[in-house]
Amino acid sequence: MTRLIPVRETILAAAILVLMILIAWRFPGFVAPSNLANVFNDTAPLIILALGQMVVILTRCIDLSVAANLALTGMAVAMINVAMPGLPIPVIIAIAIGLGAVMGAINGLLVWKLAIPPIVVTLGTMTIYRGMIFLISDGKWVNSHEMSPAFTAFPRAEFLGLPVLSWIAIACVIGFAVMMSRTPLGRSVFAVGGNPHAAVYTGINVGKTQFLAFVISGALAGLTGYLWVSRFAVAYVDIAGGFELEVVAACVIGGISIAGGIGSVGGAVLGAIFLGVVKNALPVVNISPFWQLAISGSAILIAVAFNARGGRTKGRIILKSAEKPLEAAE
């Protein structure tokens, strides 16, 4: 198990590298450090959301409401900013994280207390949250000239050569790497996904862990909601429409098993970066952006087929019961 994950990540990292070399061969400008920094900054929201989604998927759940959560929080903070332009940015960020966490907690409670399948819960809340944007905004847009300068400047402010948005993504990656490997919560997330029954016997509350995973995913979606709206300096009903699929795609490409219990922070980040590189490279190599949807769909299928093949060589069916606790204990 410990041997397997780095192999997957190495292959994915190699794939990204090959992709970049192929692009650089024709368009050397693409791999210039300043452009790579741009690509990373552009991928930062996807990285942040993929980390939250990873935790949810590891606990055998799925969160399809992240994009709607992001959009609703983004609209809410934009409207708060219009109503109270003097509110300092840290307060805005706290509100965004809090709102997102509440929406994640609603998902989590429905999964934990009522044992409703996560896909049903989040499909439902996805439409509810999206519809609520229309209710609170009346279908109107919040445009850049209505937002306060501090509100829109924050994610773009440069710090040590990188925008704050990129630094937040980096901080999230480090924070999650520590959380997943060094804290009881991180370990119980793996235990719950690897073998829920064994997790119960080791004293882990499965439902509560899943609830916390949803709260984490929601809080990150809320944070990204503010970053998204302030970066693009516009908020409307359809922002980040369909983005939840890209987030799930990043996780699946990153080798996080949809069956739970298998995955890593590095995988999620690399999966997101892979999609980000593809997305940013398409216009450079003169392919219509309309190709992007089909490419990420194919990438999901290839990644899931590839990962399943890797899992099958271990004799999955016969040794299932004996093997799962080992994975959890990894």
């Binding site: 399948p117 896909i119 049903v120 439902g124 519809g131 089909a294 769909g297 299928l301």
Partner: protein, 334 residues
């Protein structure tokens, strides 16, 4: 006392012993909801009780319900297909493409159905032969199928379908009865017989309840699932023909988000999302309930996006309420 407790506890759960009776009562409850919505609507808007308006209202659900029947079988067997709306987009795009080469109505229909079937087969290969989880596969193909439509069409649209082609989505059989309504009824009867009166239908339930047990009792599990994915693809093809014919044009964004409404319809119809139980009459009534709700709200000038809140609440509420009720009942006893 214990009797009622048993009933409530079994509502959303797997088929066990007396549960069949419970499911009949679930459908009875749905029917009551449908009647209530009907009555409320006819008071809320003076335009509701008109034969032509009600006939128009059926378009709200006929196409979705066609897919929902096949999806019900798929969900009962423990799988799911989230790519149905994208299959519609791809099938519709293929028909539009054929139109550019002067295809007639019969060819268009054949192409639509074939593309649907092929997409279903594509999903089926990944799920049954490669053994991958259907939810990830169909999230992938959801992007892939619609992505292909986008590659072909970009932000363009195919128009100019022949007049005879518009019969499927705009034609009337007799007075206010549309062609789509007839198709809906025929398909409902076919799926009712298939699920409730044939060995194949029993196999679907068996697989949903215990795939390993089904395998050991001689059911070719993967083959049954393969056929179910084919059926879902085929029904998406039928829906694509109807929708394209009704709209008279193809855009790559056609039927966006329809997979959610189809799944909602199936779950509202009493099908257990975890597989193993459900019925076709339930889905039929659920189709009417959703059609009446959206149509009634539409008459009251409620925008589509607000309606989607109702659909989302309906989806969660319909599963949550029986569970809350059971939990409350269990607390009273203990």
């Amino acid at each position: 006392m214990t009797d009622t407790r048993l009933q409530t506890r079994h509502v959303p759960d797997r088929l066990q012993g007396r549960a069949y009776r419970t499911f009949r009562s679930w459908e009875a409850l749905l029917l009551a909801v449908a009647v209530a919505i009907f009555i409320v609507n006819s008071f809320a808007s003076p335009y509701f009780l008109s034969a032509w308006n009600l006939s128009d209202a059926t378009f709200n659900f006929t196409e979705k319900a066609m897919i929902a029947f096949a999806m019900a079988l798929l969900i009962i067997s423990g799988e799911i297909d989230l790519s149905v709306a994208s299959i519609i987009a791809l099938a519709s795009t293929a028909m539009g493409l054929a139109l550019q080469y002067a295809a007639g109505t019969p060819e268009l229909v054949i192409i639509g159905l074939t593309v649907g079937l092929l997409c279903g087969a594509f999903n089926a290969v990944f799920v049954t032969i490669l053994g991958l989880p259907s939810i990830v596969v169909t999230i992938g193909t959801m992007s892939l199928f619609r992505g292909i439509s986008f590659i072909i069409l970009g932000d363009d649209a195919f128009r100019g379908y022949p007049a005879s082609f518009s019969w499927f989505g705009q034609g009337y059989i007799y007075w206010v009865f549309t062609v789509e309504m007839l198709l809906f009824l025929i398909i409902a009867i076919i799926y009712f017989v298939l699920l409730h009166k044939t060995n194949f239908g029993r196999a679907v339930y068996a697989i949903g309840n215990n795939p390993t047990g089904a395998l050991f009792s001689g059911i070719r599990v993967q083959r049954v699932k393969f056929i179910l994915f084919l059926l879902t693809g085929l029904m998406s093809g039928v829906a694509a023909v109807c929708l394209t014919s009704r709209l008279g044009s193809t855009r790559p964004s056609i039927a966006t988000g329809m997979e959610l409404e189809v799944v909602t319809m199936v779950v509202l119809g009493g099908v257990n999302i975890l597989g193993g139980s459900g019925s076709i009459p339930g889905v039929v009534i659920a189709a009417f309930v959703m059609g009446l709700v959206t149509f009634g709200l539409g008459l009251l000038n409620v925008p589509g996006i607000v309606m989607s809140i109702f659909i989302g609440l309906l989806l969660i509420g319909v599963i949550a309420l029986p569970r809350l009720w059971t939990m409350a009942a269990a607390r009273r006893v203990t």
